[in-house]
């Protein structure tokens, strides 16, 4: 991975979000206990996912929400299109949904003549810049205000000015849209209702103005009941940005008179993660982004260095699960410092999963350097061979092992007497 071109600024920006999260978490005495509660609710739910999904669907249908199921990304896109077709919808406003990124919905629709406007400011910026979001909560964190001004064709780079420009321009799209697509933060099984959290209000504006609301969710977004929702609404914003709660937490139960709500439940590989205790914990994720803000590697390279749709520690795990050969290398882009695991509101053991995926990767992908590891390991099982080699190493010229560690480093000097030598001389 390459270090981001202005890594000091990126690192400081993300570190500051981590800092805000710390302030929020330290104000809640019960924080660690609530993480445990949230983790248990999620672990319980994903291991009873079949019954909770069935309960949710039955209640949602009774509420008048039209429920669809999509096995994979392709089917998800097809279902969205079929709903749009049925309503003669041509212009769609979309609020943040990493699931739609995962399914590559925008290009699918655009290739078929639909106009898709991402309305979350950060997402709109990267949409206009023809880039991927670089963070799941802060999509444009990698861009400076001058770059945003250029993307908006404006001279003035003041954030308030630019946000107002976006407000006015996007308001026109809101007023003329045919359909609104949103993600789902939580789907409450006992109510047959789902929750969408935003700070901007774009989900509320789009869904209240359009006649059709298409909400898309991964199967793991289910939670059992409203009491459980209280825990997650307490942890989510604090973990993500350090706020007590997002500005808007909207609970959709029934469509407005004369309008339709469609909910698409998507699998796309998630059910395959179930059953392996080593990896299924990643399904607890509530997409807060705290792991990205704290990761010392992410902060220095930025989200675009990760070749999976979701970057950072959780993305490296989810990508490795999706396709170990394609994305498994991401599991190696970590020092295993464990900070991600420590900030995760649902206590996913992110760094341990990364190591486990490294094992999976190595069992499936053979590289030429593997033999050096295997040879070294073999030598280490034979103490006498190991010791003779150490003795030899002392006479090895510096330049021979300097290359191993790469340029820009001074290799350590081997001591004249090893500890073992000293011990034996006692």
């Amino acid at each position: 991975m390459r270090v981001f071109n202005d890594d000091k600024w990126l690192n400081e920006s993300l570190n500051f979000v981590r800092h805000k999260r710390d302030l929020a978490s330290k104000k809640l005495d019960n924080w660690e206990y609530l993480r445990e509660v949230a983790s248990n609710i999620k672990a319980h739910t994903i291991t009873h996912l079949d019954s909770y999904l069935e309960e949710f669907e039955a209640k949602a249908l009774a509420n008048g929400i039209k429920v669809h199921w999509a096995v994979d990304a392709k089917e998800h896109n097809k279902i969205v299109e079929s709903i749009l077709k049925k309503h003669n919808a041509k212009k769609i406003v979309k609020s943040k949904s990493m699931l739609t990124e995962e399914c590559e919905l925008n290009p699918y629709l655009e290739n078929r003549g639909y106009e898709v406007i991402d309305t979350d400011l950060g997402e709109r910026i990267v949409q206009l810049a023809k880039q991927r979001p670089s963070h799941i909560v802060l999509p444009a964190i990698h861009l400076k205000k001058e770059q945003v001004a250029t993307i908006f064709n404006e001279q003035n780079s003041d954030p308030t000015y630019l946000t107002n420009i976006a407000r006015v321009r996007l308001r026109e799209h809101f007023e003329s849209c045919d359909a609104a697509i949103t993600g789902v933060n939580f789907a409450v099984a006992s109510e047959g209702a789902f929750v969408v959290c935003t700070n901007e209000g774009n989900a509320d504006l789009g869904t209240s103005l359009a006649n059709v609301h298409i909400a898309v969710m991964g199967i793991e977004k289910i939670i059992p009941n409203m009491q459980d929702l209280g825990v997650f609404l307490t942890l989510l914003a604090r973990s993500a940005t350090g706020q007590d709660i997002t500005t808007y937490s909207s609970i959709f139960k029934k469509p407005s008179r004369g309008k339709e709500i469609h909910l698409i439940i998507v699998d796309n590989g998630r059910s395959q993660m179930l059953g392996d205790e080593k990896f299924e914990g990643a399904l607890k994720c509530i997409r807060c982004g705290a792991c990205m803000n704290t990761c010392p590697v992410f902060r220095r390279v930025g989200g675009h260095e990760y070749n999976y749709v979701i970057p950072g520690p959780i993305g490296s795990n989810l990508g490795s699960s999706r396709d170990i050969k394609e994305y498994g290398k991401l599991a190696f882009a970590s020092t295993l410092c464990g900070s991600c695991t420590a900030v995760c509101p649902v206590k996913i053991n992110l760094h341990e999963q990364l190591v486990a995926y490294r094992g999976v990767y190595k069992s499936q992908v053979k590289e030429s350097k593997d033999r050096y590891y295997k040879l070294t390991a073999k030598i280490l099982t034979k103490p006498r061979v190991y010791r003779s080699l150490i003795k030899l190493a002392k006479y090895m010229p510096h330049w021979l092992y300097r290359g191993v560690w790469g340029k820009g480093r001074v290799a350590p000097k081997l001591a004249k007497k090893s500890f073992k030598d000293y011990y034996e001389s006692l």
């Binding site: 590697v297 190696f332 020092t335 900070s339 094992g359 280490l380 103490p383 820009g408 001074v410 500890f419």
Partner: protein, 246 residues
């Protein structure tokens, strides 16, 4: 007299032997019979962390055999002993793991929690900054990680406060990873160096004379980027060997 087996990781054995000497001496001073099992080589962490699980298992089994006959296993290396204490659960059967887990300690952890050392009779008239390496911090709980909302405690600081004349200066981002990460430093060398340089910049800004830590792998990585860097393992200070040439 309880028998303590010394686990001296390869880089301590060959690059920082004085750290092993310090560990040996302080344990003997506290009344333990200290043995260095001669056949030890490596705990297997580099292989486990690189995805070579079979190789790591073999080394874990070897480690178990080399160290099973002792009352305690103590190492002056948090990341290596954390491998044994935590990650061996994926490599050894449950009984062997439980056995080893119960008696493995990092040296500072051992002095603080088991020996409950109260005085040292040692002085070190210098200023230091303490780098809190990841495994010791987040896996062995040598100090409270800043991510967690838990009462502040720092076993390392407690031990260093027993040393006369020593002053601990605040270090910005003390708990941030230094960027070594074992094979990470080879596979992602650019990022590894950047992280190391940031850590060194924080150290410089602290104004301290010595960068002190409880993991020589981190210190070795940082010294490779800044050869003039003065580093010490905590145990070298506690055992009073910091000025000894070896």
């Amino acid at each position: 007299m309880k028998r303590v087996a010394l686990f001296i990781p390869c880089f301590v054995d060959t690059v920082y032997p004085r750290v092993g000497v310090a560990t040996l001496r302080i344990l003997q001073k506290e009344g333990f019979e200290v043995i260095y099992p001669k056949n030890q080589t490596c705990c297997g962490q580099p292989f486990f962390n690189s995805g070579f699980v079979k190789e790591a298992k073999e080394l874990a089994e070897k480690f178990y055999n080399d160290f099973k006959d002792y009352d305690y296993i103590v190492a002056p290396s948090a990341s290596c002993i954390s491998m044994v204490k935590h990650h061996y659960k994926d490599l050894l059967d449950a009984d062997k793991f439980r056995e080893i887990n119960k008696k493995s300690f990092e040296i500072c952890e051992f002095l603080h929690d088991i020996v409950k050392i109260k005085s040292l009779n040692v002085s070190f008239n210098h200023t230091i900054a303490l780098h809190q390496s990841c495994h010791g911090l987040r896996e062995l709980e040598l100090a409270t990680p800043s991510e967690l909302n838990l009462p502040y405690q720092n076993k390392i600081e407690n031990l260093l406060n027993l040393v006369d004349g020593l002053e601990i200066l605040p270090l910005a981002n003390a708990q941030e990873c230094c960027g070594f990460g074992g094979t990470f430093s080879i596979n992602e060398s650019e990022v590894s160096k950047k992280m190391g340089q940031d850590k060194l910049a924080n150290f410089k800004a602290s104004g301290a004379e010595y960068l002190v830590g409880y993991d020589n792998s981190c210190l070795m990585h940082l010294a490779s980027l800044e050869p003039e860097l003065k580093t010490l393992h905590v145990i070298e200070i506690l055992a009073g060997v910091a000025d000894e040439s070896f």
